[in-house]
Symmetry: C2
Subunit: 202 residues, 2 copies
């Protein structure tokens, strides 16, 4: 219990996760989250636009970190490598801020609620757009900038899913790198992407 | 005016586009769309879950076409080529069904309304998921299947945007192929992706 900590946003987030666990996401109100944190609804809305946003706390920090990492990447780096490295850094931020258990609870909630999936895809679309802008600012031309941004998002999403499902407790960054090398293999038409034994003849 | 045509869905769609043009998307109600089409609200809801869905009419046909094209692709085709070819076919379907003027009006409406952008990203996420499943059924392993699906969506989205913005009236399929070759170049670290004159030294 962190009720007496000075950090109101952290208290709201912790209260929300406690209540989601106790009574479920649907049956938890903003009023109850604020009350559990010892704060007012007005304070809640100073930090979050709605109940959904509690699950996406930190998404602005993550977007900023990714954009800053692209801006600061060595000039000679290939753009896709810049983006992959930026997402590896994002992966480290996620692992610093949330336990794997919390990440998994969050993913289960998102999977179970259409309104949360909707919010998530909008956040990812916003991130793709920010990455495109960061690449354009590094002098990458279109349509390469958009394609690299979307591919970067793809390796982040796929790496993230595999990390969440992983039993071996490897770092998220490991799965992001793995997804990058798989992407390179499939676009080059290389790699053991087909499970030959299951490919049906047609 | 197609008011007396037997096709209720086509009449609803045409009525909706007329009303969106006359009074704007926000100020058009489902009741008005139904009335203009000479139909009841009940009939409207038989075809569309809500007003937003009118803009995404045909998205199920498009998803089915893409999935079927992947299922029917030659066994020796590289998976990313299968997906790109499926999206080229989707591009031809779009060009058969909508004029470029209507596509552009639709894109402007989506850009201007958060609720429509939200619906669009959900449709694209559903399409990515359907493509992943179709690839798994063709024997493509994970994480390659998800990465190829996401990359395929990226070339479709980027190709689509360039087609809509294009003054030269090339086919959508042309821009999808162009996006595929750009994607291959950037993942291979090849290609003139950097506008050297603007790349700031860091």
């Amino acid at each position: 219990m962190a009720r007496w900590e000075p950090n109101p946003q952290g208290r709201l987030e912790q209260a929300a996760w406690e209540l989601f666990r106790e009574r479920g996401y649907d049956d938890t109100t903003v009023e109850e989250i604020a009350a559990r944190a010892g704060l007012t609804e007005r304070t809640f809305f100073r930090y979050y636009a709605d109940k959904r946003e509690v699950l996406f706390s930190g998404s602005q920090d993550l977007e900023k970190l990714v954009v800053d990492a692209i801006a600061a990447a060595p000039a000679q780096a290939a753009p896709l490598e810049m983006v992959a490295a930026a997402f590896e850094a994002a992966g480290r931020l996620i692992q610093e801020r949330r336990t794997l258990e919390l990440v998994r609870r969050r993913q289960s909630l998102i999977a179970a609620h259409a309104e949360l999936r909707e919010r998530e895809v909008m956040k990812l679309a916003s991130l793709a757009s920010a990455v495109t802008t960061a690449l354009l600012e590094r002098g990458v031309a279109q349509p390469a900038a958009s394609l690299i941004a979307e591919s970067g998002l793809a390796i982040f999403k796929v790496g993230f899913e595999r990390w969440v499902a992983d039993a071996k407790r490897q770092d998220l960054a490991h799965y992001i790198r793995e997804a990058l090398s798989t992407l390179k293999a499939v676009t080059a038409g290389r790699g053991r992407t087909i499970r030959r034994e299951k490919a049906a003849p047609r």
